[in-house]
Symmetry: C2
Subunit: 414 residues, 2 copies
């Protein structure tokens, strides 16, 4: 691609996805300097030796956001993944979002059991060690809190980062035992339609899982990104319900009760139901919608040079695999298909990217995902109209970032 074709700026600066970036196009590489030997301080002496359990560079300044919690009850709160600092699709375990209703229990796996009972032929109880002997599966899946992005349902757009606004979404390789193995062994009664999962935290978090889901992709997850679950993610074991609101993937799982009816717990009546405009409520609306956002450039960043940028972000859908993502640089007037940077996998995050030329024009950057079922991510207005104005769960409207002529990037509503 030569300079001329780059100057043919289309659609607010977006370049077609076949356009390759080159250094001359970027204008970033400086004039040649012979690589000096041993001028950097760190080349003059041996560095730190290997370690038992590694840590990131302090220069990378990695940390979860919104970790404050409620001032009177810090154990009931959440933390979000700093999406703007990451690339690829995996969320490292230390940065996976958290949502705790009564803090993180410090469970000794030798003193923890999982009980499977209720409408079954043979109730069962398993120690952690027993479960390690079962056949496992390994899949990459996203996990999204039902309340993710709720700040964008507020009347005024908050000037926050991508992670603070939308970071209750993470992605990991989960390894665990397909639940149908355990259900099959216990012998589920014909009348049974629900699995009631209870956690061993002080909140006794309890959710009802429809049997159709329980027999499909649900697993008892024991490993996350290769290592045993972190305590913040349910150590020693959690339920994992792929594609569904995070709350139903009950952490610190201690029992599964099989019955004909749902339990109608607090977490599926008062909370985690969606009030509709007509005053009725959607209950057990579990699958997360099709969604995406641009993670860079994103809120609170500043573009400190003119030229080409890589617009990059994440897309996902609770209905399956992402089929495509489009990007707009003019607030949704025109759209350009993005490149999928990683292989799209069902119920996992997919990364997209597209080159964009910024020469100081005021722009509104947006992304819009489409999934394998043809569902298209809605505008903010359409997403809000689905629910009562009091609602804030399952919000999947398009995220808009305004780039000012000074290069300041800010959350806006379009």
């Amino acid at each position: 691609m030569d300079q001329d074709s780059i100057n043919q700026v289309i659609d607010g600066g977006l370049l077609p996805r076949r356009a390759l970036l080159k250094a001359s196009a970027l204008g970033l590489a400086t004039s040649f300097v012979l690589p000096a030997r041993a001028t950097e301080n760190w080349m003059l002496h041996a560095g730190e030796p290997q370690s038992d359990y590694g840590q990131p560079s302090p220069f990378a300044r990695l940390k979860r956001e919104q970790t404050g919690g409620h001032p009177l009850g810090p154990a009931a709160g959440s933390s979000s993944t700093p999406l703007q600092d990451l690339n690829g699709t995996i969320t490292p375990n230390s940065l996976h979002f958290e949502r705790h209703h009564s803090g993180i229990p410090a469970i000794d796996p030798r003193r923890h059991t999982l009980t499977l009972y209720g409408d079954v032929r043979q109730p069962l109880q398993f120690r952690y060690e027993d479960l390690l002997a079962y056949p496992m599966e390994t899949h990459q899946y996203f996990l999204e809190c039902s309340g993710n992005s709720f700040r964008n349902t507020l009347a005024t757009p908050l000037d926050l980062t991508a992670g603070s606004l939308n970071g209750l979404i993470s992605n990991a390789e989960w390894t665990g035992i397909p639940l149908h193995y355990l259900l099959d062994e216990a012998g589920v009664a014909d009348s049974a339609r629900w699995v009631i999962a209870e956690g061993a935290d002080a909140a006794g978090m309890t959710r009802s899982v429809p049997m159709s889901l329980a027999l499909d992709k649900v697993m008892i997850a024991l490993y996350q990104n290769g290592e045993p679950l972190r305590p913040a993610q349910g150590y020693p074991m959690r339920l994992f319900v792929p594609g569904c609101e995070g709350n139903i993937s009950v952490k610190w799982l201690r029992s599964l009760k099989i019955q004909a009816q749902p339990a109608y717990t607090r977490e599926e009546t008062s909370k985690y139901t969606e009030l509709l405009p007509n005053g009725k409520a959607e209950m057990f609306s579990l699958a997360m919608g099709v969604k995406s956002l641009i993670t860079s450039p994103s809120g609170r960043m500043t573009l400190n040079r003119k030229g080409l940028y890589e617009v990059t972000g994440l897309a996902w859908s609770g209905a399956g695999t992402i089929r495509g993502v489009e990007v707009s640089a003019d607030g949704g007037i025109s759209w350009e298909p993005a490149v999928l940077q990683s292989d799209p996998r069902p119920l996992a995050l997919t990364r997209f990217r597209l080159p964009w030329r910024w020469v100081g024009q005021s722009s509104i950057l947006q992304s819009r995902a489409t999934d394998e079922q043809g569902q298209v991510q809605p505008s903010r207005a359409t997403a809000l109209a689905r629910y009562s104005p009091a609602g804030f769960y399952h919000y999947n409207g398009i995220q808009s970032w305004h780039v000012s002529s000074a290069g300041v990037v800010k959350n806006v509503y379009v």
Copy 2:
């Protein structure tokens, strides 16, 4: 599968891969106990709140092994991934193996540059920040040290864990810039055949990469499992050469020199060459062979009950994708095809599993991988015969674990 078919123990206890494990077959689930409420201490009070950067459970006792290093030069050493404690395929960043020749430099990315020079039309220099604007790709790849498993080339088998013996192998999702973008921009001379990569550590680690590889899958890696590279893995940037001996994926990358000949550095003459039985040496033999090992049951474990177990392990090949893995429980007399627990991806770890019934029989567990090119993992004897007895690089012989009638698992040579 009923009890009768389980009792039809074949091949030293291995069950065919279509056999599903069930609780009754495992005999692990205990008689029914009503799940008591709030008896565990951790259900009686709120737990710890969310945090900036999470940590694993102390009960999981996760740490890298063999971290001691040389007593007089601890900065020149290695640490290995505790394979026996992990499941799935991803290695979490904190447990990725390390091999440093002069320790880990503490690089400030604002003071680090990458220079591309030599036989090029236009030498280039890049800051870290510049590189973030380039198009990136995301792939899951293994990284294996050329000297991995060298302890099994010694005359006497060492009674060590799977990780201590074979843990200089890890697997991560790497995100970075395809090197061909930068080479293309610099304009490589027709005569150029090699890319000489130098690291910014005090060892000035330098390796020669054939141009054919450099133009293929090689990347400038900037992210590992989603987050910026760890210092131990080359922060802020490393070369990544998929499928090849780890040493050539130069960490803390500071320069790439393009030239007609290799550099013949210490690391590709004195070290990282393989002496053959005829006295000649293989140089630039980069691709790692087809290999696998059982990670559980494995060395220094003890089976503390009789019954069904899940035999599980990892397989990989520098030539591409794993096509299949076979497992033997009788020291290689008979083999049974394993289930591939994760989707096989090119140049990445694949997890396999197979049920195994242990009723106290003395057994020798082995695994044998085959890759897409039809290469089959060799026996220890065949693997050793390829090189001079002085050699210890690129060893990919079959790992044998002896299970005694008391259930003690130990590294043996067969």
